[in-house]
């Protein structure tokens, strides 16, 4: 076990050295785990992939995709409703050279809840998702980035239309690793 820990640390150090040794105008591909809490409702967790191209505002403008689900959160081993978000993200990361970087993001996507029984078929269980986010990234200047944002779903249910468990306010944290930088 001590040997595995040693090799892991060596890997981290060399990755960081290599990561910082290449040119600043690079493309980035960050892959991470997203942990999300809807205020007054569920934990919905998943994955996030973000990409920035060296020819289009590198390390400022990011495009990506996130999948979060209550199946990986509150609905795991409970009676909470199983619901999924499929989100396309467009983000702007400010202050490129700094460690603490504000960001803004716009998500556009799709929400789907599984009510399971046919007698609930009359209830709306899907929705378009439009949600701005704003927050901070800790850009460690290594492959590791830690993001925290506050987001707001513009479209929510209201008892007469829309999905009932699509709530407005959420907080999310994404811990990502740069799989690619070139």
């Amino acid at each position: 076990m001590r040997l595995k820990k040693k090799y892991f640390l060596i890997f981290i150090v060399f990755s960081t050295m290599f990561y910082n040794s290449v040119c600043a105008q690079d493309s980035f591909l960050d892959v991470g785990v997203r942990v999300q809490k809807t205020v007054n409702l569920y934990w919905e967790n998943g994955v996030s992939i973000q990409y920035s191209n060296k020819n289009v505002k590198p390390d400022n403008l990011y495009f990506g995709f996130s999948y979060v689900s209550s199946r990986l959160g509150s609905a795991y081993n409970s009676n909470a409703i199983k619901q999924d978000y499929f989100l396309f993200n467009t983000s702007w990361y400010f202050r490129k050279q700094h460690v603490l970087r504000p960001l803004v993001r716009l998500n556009l996507g799709y929400f789907m809840a599984d009510y399971e029984e046919p007698f609930f078929d009359d209830l709306t269980n899907t929705s378009l998702v439009i949600s701005p986010e704003a927050g901070l990234i800790v850009d460690t200047k290594s492959p590791l980035k830690i993001m925290i944002t506050l987001g707001y779903n513009v479209i929510t249910g209201d008892g007469e239309q829309g999905a009932g468990t699509l709530y407005p306010l959420f907080i999310q944290t994404t811990i990502s690793w740069a799989l690619l930088r070139q």
Binding site: S74, S78, A80, P102, L123, G159, L169
Partner: protein, 315 residues
């Protein structure tokens, strides 16, 4: 550095506005509102006209075994919410009705503001205890909206397990998820709001609180969150207790998805499902039609069908 300073300034402005606008928010209460000092629920002065435990505290054996509906209203409402069922029953000798007023309700704005959801629930428990002490054995709950949530909390606590078990629990438009998702933001923006208005007609203002103080919205939010989590963990009914939910498929107050959460979270003591009926209605508490404008034929049919269904279960 410039960006951080700008963020700091924006946050300071938000805090200042919050403090400034959150101070001293008292509503204008009129004499003709339930919220005021002149109109209050009549059960407070004449409990014997509403509560069976007061009107018949010493039942005969036959009366004690006759079905009793303990009928409880929803948030901000009063005993008026189930008056139509009592009128429709027209003094039937086959069953009795006890109309319960929740704690903090039917009184004044201040009473409402200062009551917790445990206070709301206490009245239900008190009447249930009085009826059990009086010897009634055939007890059934008829609950609407928030009173359904309060009863689910009692079921979660296995409250009835060593007492007289309710034979039937009938929920009309129960709320676990509110239709207005702004309620989820009340812990944050409540102090700014102070209160919200209920959107009642002037006639309804005599029977429902016009103003909903943010303190009561916080209590409602806490209750809904507590019971939602109880359902997520799973709740078992006591033996020989049947539960049915009647839920409007369009409901501006209690999101219809509440029925999904109750169906998933509540099971009979043999791990069987509870009964659900999704009703083609766009009313909240579709069993109450009095004082509503623009009613449709379907609304009257829904009420009639549900009242008959209640009786078919208990008789």
């Amino acid at each position: 550095m410039g960006t951080l300073k700008a963020i700091e300034r924006i946050l300071l402005i938000i805090v200042f506005m919050t403090v400034f606008t959150g101070c001293d928010k008292e509503p204008e209460i009129l004499d003709l509102m339930l919220d005021g000092k002149f109109i209050y629920d009549p059960s407070l002065d004449n409990p014997q006209d509403y509560l069976l435990s007061y009107s018949n505290p010493t039942p005969t054996p036959e009366e004690a075994s006759r079905p009793v509906f303990i009928a409880v209203h929803g948030y901000s409402a009063s005993t008026f919410e189930w008056e139509e069922f009592r009128t429709w029953s027209a003094g039937s000798p086959d069953y009795a009705i006890s109309l319960v007023l929740m704690g903090g309700h039917g009184r004044t704005y201040e009473d409402f503001k200062n009551a917790t959801w445990r206070d709301w629930q206490k009245s239900i428990v008190d009447e249930y205890h009085r009826l059990v002490a009086a010897g009634y054995t055939n007890l059934n709950f008829l609950a609407s909206s928030t009173s359904c949530t309060l009863i689910i909390d009692l079921l979660n606590a296995s409250y009835f397990s060593d007492k007289v078990v309710p034979r039937h629990i009938l929920f009309i438009d129960p709320i676990i998820i509110p239709s207005s998702k702004i309620l989820s933001l009340v812990p944050v923006i409540g102090p700014i709001l102070g209160y919200i208005e209920g959107g009642n007609t002037p006639e309804e203002d005599q029977y429902w609180y016009h103003y909903r103080p943010q303190e009561t919205l916080n209590q409602l939010n806490k209750l809904l969150t507590t019971v939602r989590k109880q359902l997520e963990d799973g709740i078992e009914l006591p033996p020989n207790c049947k539960l049915k939910v009647y839920k409007s498929i369009n409901d501006p107050t209690a999101d219809p998805v509440s029925a999904v959460l109750i169906y998933k979270g509540l099971k009979t003591n043999t791990n069987g499902p509870i009964e659900i009926e999704m009703v083609n209605s766009d009313l909240h508490v579709f069993t109450r039609l009095s004082l509503r404008p623009n009613l449709k034929v379907m609304d009257h049919e829904n009420q009639e069908n549900s009242f008959n269904d209640f009786l078919s279960r208990v008789l």
